[in-house]
Subunit: 102 residues, 2 copies
DNA sequence: TACACTATTTATAATAG
DNA sequence: TCTATTATAAATAGTGT
């Protein structure tokens, strides 16, 4: 992505991986916060590092996000769910996102 | 941020907000996926749009992420939790992230 | 070991379709 | 409602301290 783009696959060097994890985790949290503010969305992000450490962001509170998520899932059980698969890029694994229909 | 940067506050125009929501949601999901691959992290992202639509990404499965989250929270109940507050930028609201200590 | 720098890639605002 | 284009802002990989 910068000064020589990197391939999206696991970074083997533990040191580099930690540095990248810090930078990108910070960036992801910032983006999540911006999106929640700009678009009035309720957002929860949960990250477990490869060492098992937990990092989280919630625009409201994580428990409220999880509750709402579970409730939505229950309500949608009798409805069909559309699963759309898109490629992040041609070589990479498939990224699956699920959209509820209501 | 581009062709005239925007302030991070709720976009009032519904049409613009929707377009921005689509773009940034896509970007956030991509970043989450990249981070999970690059750094071997388990990540879950839950987004409710302002119209109540649910969008989600999980590197493994959302239920496994939520389970692990709940378990971690239980285990940490007797430990102290550090709350660190950082500014996304000087004018904006405070963004709170919580780090577990173990 | 965590920041600071910066060249470069990536994300995206405005716009049109 | 979503996609495409493009100019520009933001993110970040590699490096230095």
């Amino acid at each position: 992505m910068v000064k020589g783009k990197i391939a999206i696959r696991k970074i083997n060097c533990s040191k580099s991986r930690q540095v990248t994890f810090f930078k990108r985790r910070t960036g992801l949290m910032k983006k999540a916060k911006e999106l929640s503010i700009l678009c009035d969305a309720e957002i929860g992000v949960i990250i477990f590092s490869c060492t098992g450490k937990l990092y989280e962001y919630a625009s409201s509170s994580m428990s409220s996000v999880i509750e709402r998520y579970n409730k939505m899932k229950q309500d949608n059980q009798q409805q069909s769910i559309t699963t759309e698969e898109i490629q992040v890029n041609a070589k990479d694994q498939v990224k699956t996102r699920m959209y509820s229909l209501n």
